[in-house]
C-alpha cells in the first residue's frame, strides 16, 4: 500500500532523517504540532487499520529506543531486546497483532536517531551479549527505500563485538545490504509460511520463493541468516505444505549459515478475532481448535501444537540435523515432547540463544 500523506512532527522537522525521508518520498506533507488530529483522521475512516497504513508520521520517540520483548512468565521467553525504530507496517497480514496493539494503528517513524545511537552506545559498553531486533513493532525492512536505516544499523553493529542485530522481514528489500562490512553482527531473518497462507493471509508481502531467493543472496553476502516459522497454521494438508517450505529453504540457504529457526503456532489476543472477521472475511485461520492460553491469548489446543511441532522438527532435522531450533513462547511440556529437553537444562533459552549468536556471529571476539 502506497503512503499517500506524510505528517511531520514540528519537533523533528529539522532532523537530518526527516529531511532525507521527505525528499525521498516526494508526497504532500504537513507539519503538525501533535499526533491527535492524525489519530482522529485515522479513527474516523471506515477502516482505520487500513487507513493507518497510508499515512506516515515522522516523529520523536518519547520513550526508550531499546525495550525488552514483551514475553509472559507463563511461557518460555527468549530474552530478546527490541530496537524501537517505528510502529506498524505497510503489509497487511490477517493475523498481525499490530492491528489491535496500537490505538490507533499508524505508521510512525522515529527520526530522533541521535538518541537511538546514544542508547545503543550505552548498551555496547556493557560488554554483555544482546540480541536486538527491529522487527517486533514493525517489519525491519519496509522502511529501506525511504530511510536506509538498516544499512546504517548494520554498520553501527559491525563496529562492536557483544551484540547482534536481527532484521526480521517478509520483504525482499535487501539491495542496500549488499557490499556492507557487516562483520557478521547482523542476522537477516525471514518469516516463512506456506504459499497457501501467504496468498490468503499475508497481503502485500513477498511470495515465499522471493523471500528464499533474498535469503540466499544475503547468505552469499556473508550474513548470518535466520528463519521464523511463525505463525504455523494448522489446516488440512498443512504438513505437506510445510514440508515443501522446509525443503525449499535448504535449497536456497546452506544450514551452516543459519543461526536459528524458530517455531511458533498461531496465537492471538481475543480482541483480534473480530478484527480478522471484519477485515478478512474469507479467512478461516481463527476457526481452528483454539483454547485460552495461560497468557490470555488464543492458542491451538496443546496436543495439536505438539503434533505439528514434532513434524516440523523432524522435517528440519531430516535435512539439517545440527540446525538450532527453538520455540517462541512455549512451555516445558512442548519443549520436552518435541525437542527432548528443557531449556533450563542448558541454562535457559536466553543463554542458549546468546551462545548460538556468539558462535555464529563471533560475539565476544575482540
Amino acid at each position: 500500500m502506497a503512503i499517500s500523506k506524510l505528517y511531520i512532527d514540528q519537533n523533528v522537522a529539522d532532523e537530518p532523517q526527516t529531511r532525507l525521508i521527505q525528499s525521498r518520498l516526494k508526497i504532500p506533507y504537513e507539519i503538525v504540532t501533535g499526533p491527535q488530529p492524525i489519530y482522529q483522521h485515522v479513527l474516523s475512516s471506515p477502516d482505520p487499520i487500513a487507513s493507518g497504513k497510508e499515512i506516515l508520521l515522522l516523529t520523536r520517540n518519547h520513550g526508550a529506543f531499546i525495550k525488552d520483548c514483551p514475553g509472559t512468565r507463563c511461557y518460555t521467553c527468549c530474552g530478546y531486546k527490541i530496537l524501537h525504530i517505528g510502529t506498524y507496517c505497510t503489509m497487511d497480514c490477517a493475523y498481525c497483532i499490530l492491528q489491535s496493539y496500537f490505538h490507533p494503528p499508524l505508521l510512525q517513524y522515529f527520526t530522533n536517531q541521535g538518541d537511538m545511537l546514544q542508547e545503543l552506545e550505552k548498551l555496547f559498553t556493557q560488554k554483555k551479549i544482546y540480541r536486538i531486533g527491529t522487527g517486533e513493532f514493525t517489519d525491519s525492512l519496509i522502511w529501506e527505500s525511504w530511510t536506509g536505516l538498516a544499512k546504517d544499523l548494520v554498520s553501527i553493529f559491525s563496529r562492536q563485538h557483544d551484540a547482534v542485530l536481527e532484521l526480521k522481514t517478509k520483504t525482499t528489500s535487501i539491495e542496500g545490504l549488499q557490499a556492507l562490512n557487516h562483520n557478521q553482527k547482523t542476522i537477516i531473518s525471514w518469516s516463512l509460511n506456506t504459499d497457501k497462507i501467504i496468498r490468503a493471509e499475508e497481503r502485500r508481502t513477498s511470495p515465499l520463493s522471493a523471500r528464499l531467493q533474498a535469503a540466499g543472496k544475503c547468505a552469499s553476502w556473508g550474513y548470518p541468516i535466520a528463519f521464523h516459522f511463525d505463525p504455523l497454521v494448522i489446516y488440512d494438508g498443512c504438513e505437506k505444505d510445510y514440508r515443501a517450505v522446509v525443503e525449499a529453504l535448504f535449497t536456497h540457504v546452506q544450514s551452516e549459515r543459519i543461526v536459528w529457526i524458530s517455531l511458533g503456532t498461531l496465537r492471538f489476543p481475543p480482541s483480534l478475532k473480530p478484527i480478522i472477521q471484519e477485515r478478512f472475511p474469507g479467512s478461516r485461520i481463527i476457526y481452528g481448535e483454539f483454547i485460552t492460553g495461560l497468557d490470555g491469548k488464543m492458542r491451538y489446543f496443546k496436543p495439536l501444537r505438539i503434533e505439528l511441532y514434532q513434524k516440523m522438527v523432524s522435517l528440519i532435522k531430516e535435512i539439517a540435523p545440527d540446525v538450532f531450533i527453538y520455540f517462541c513462547m512455549e512451555d516445558d511440556e512442548v519443549w520436552q515432547k518435541t525437542l527432548g529437553f528443557l531449556p533450563s537444562v542448558h541454562g535457559g533459552l536466553k543463554k542458549m540463544l546468546d551462545e548460538r549468536a556468539a558462535k555464529i556471529c563471533g560475539l565476544g571476539d575482540q
Binding site: R284, Y287, E289, I291, T292, G293, L294, R299, F301, K302, P303, L304, D331, D332, E333
Partner: protein, 330 residues
C-alpha cells in the same frame, strides 16, 4: 368527502377532526402505519360491546377512501360487531406522511409499553419520513422511543427480521442483543435458529454459545447453518425420550464435539481415567483448564483426623494407579 362515506361540512378539515365514517370506506389491506403486533381482537370486541368505542381510531383521508393510521384492531373489532359507521379522527389528504407517522407512533407509544418489534416499526416509520439523523433522533426521543443512535440502529433492523424471529422477540425468548446477531444471517437461517431457541427455551448465554458453535463450524467447514441444523440437531430435537434440558445438553455436546474434536476427545479420555481411579465423594481431581497448564488440582474433603487418615491411605494407592499415570502423561 361525503362520497367516500364521511359525514361533515364542506369546510376544510381540522387536524384530527372527529367524523362519522362508513367502515366500508376504510381500506383493510394498507399496513403502512401499523405498529401493533397484536392481531387478536376478542378483548376489544368485548369492551366495545359493553362500553362502546371509547377512543376513536385515526384515519387518513384519500381521494375516495380512508387508510388506517392508528386503531387497526379497533376497526377490525367494530367490523366484527357489525358496525356500519364509526367516529374517527381524520387527517386530511393534504397532511404529510411525517405528521401521519407521528400520530400513529404517539397514539401507540404514549399510551402503552411497546414491545421491541413495535418499537422497531415506529423507528422504521420515522426513518421513512426523516432524511437527517438529528431530526430522526429528536423525533424518536419526543415520541418516547430510544434516542441513542446505536440503539436506534439495532432496534431499527428488528421489523425487517423474519416472522419467526419477531415472534421470538415478542415472546421474550430472543433479546435485542441476540436479534442483532441474527440480523446478520440469511432470513431462512435466522428463522431456523429462532425455531431452535423456541424448541429449547434457553436464555441468552446458552443461545449465544450454540450460535457461536453453529457459525464457526459453518464457516470452517463451508457448510450452511441450516444444513447443520437439519442433520443431527434435528434428530435430537425430535427425540421424545429427552426433555428440553437434556436436548440442550445433547445438542451443546454434539456441537462442541464438532467444533473442538481434539479437546473433547481429551476431556472424555480424562473422564474415563478419572472414573477408573474411583476417587469417591471425598476426593476431587481437576485437570488444568483445557489441559494447557501443567498443574492438576486435588481437593480432599474431611471433617475428622480419622477421615483424613483414610484419605491418606487411599491417596497412596491412587499415586500408584496406572490411570493416574495416564492422566498425568496425557
Amino acid at each position: 368527502m361525503g362520497s367516500k362515506g364521511g359525514t361533515r361540512s364542506k369546510s376544510p378539515l381540522q387536524l384530527g377532526e372527529l367524523l362519522s365514517i362508513s367502515l366500508s370506506a376504510v381500506e383493510t389491506g394498507n399496513d403502512t402505519f401499523r405498529i401493533t403486533t397484536k392481531t387478536e381482537i376478542d378483548d376489544l370486541v368485548y369492551s366495545i360491546r359493553q362500553l362502546g368505542l371509547l377512543n376513536p381510531p385515526i384515519l387518513r383521508a384519500r381521494s375516495s377512501d380512508y387508510i388506517i393510521v392508528s386503531g387497526f384492531r379497533r376497526i377490525a373489532a367494530c367490523r366484527s360487531l357489525g358496525y356500519i359507521k364509526v367516529i374517527a379522527k381524520i387527517l386530511g389528504p393534504d397532511i404529510s406522511d411525517k405528521i401521519c407517522a407521528q400520530w400513529a407512533i404517539a397514539d401507540n407509544a404514549l399510551q402503552r409499553p411497546l414491545n421491541l418489534v413495535e418499537s422497531s416499526k415506529c423507528l422504521s416509520l420515522l426513518l421513512s419520513v426523516y432524511s437527517d439523523d438529528k431530526g430522526l433522533v429528536e423525533a424518536a426521543s419526543s415520541l418516547g422511543l430510544p434516542g441513542n443512535p446505536d440503539a436506534l440502529k439495532k432496534i431499527g433492523v428488528i421489523c425487517r427480521l423474519p416472522k419467526p424471529v419477531q415472534a421470538g422477540i415478542i415472546a421474550d425468548r430472543i433479546s435485542l442483543a441476540m436479534a442483532w446477531d441474527l440480523s446478520a444471517l440469511e432470513p431462512d437461517t435466522s428463522s431456523a435458529i429462532a425455531s431452535l431457541f423456541e424448541d429449547l427455551n434457553i436464555g441468552l448465554n446458552k443461545q449465544r454459545e450454540l450460535l457461536l458453535f453453529l457459525k464457526e463450524i459453518s464457516l470452517r467447514d463451508n457448510l450452511s447453518i441450516k444444513r447443520l441444523l437439519e442433520t443431527k440437531v434435528r434428530k435430537i430435537l425430535e427425540d421424545e425420550n429427552l426433555d428440553r434440558r437434556q436436548k440442550f445438553q445433547t445438542i451443546r455436546s454434539y456441537l462442541k464435539r464438532q467444533r473442538f474434536p481434539s479437546l473433547v476427545a481429551a476431556e472424555k479420555k480424562f473422564e474415563r481415567h478419572l472414573k477408573a481411579l474411583n476417587l469417591g465423594d471425598s476426593m476431587k481431581l481437576a485437570a488444568p483448564k483445557d489441559f494447557e497448564g501443567a498443574t492438576y488440582n486435588l481437593n480432599l474433603k474431611f471433617t475428622k483426623r480419622s477421615e483424613l487418615k483414610q484419605l491418606h491411605q487411599k491417596l497412596a494407592g491412587i499415586i500408584q494407579d496406572p490411570d493416574l499415570k495416564k492422566i498425568l502423561n496425557n
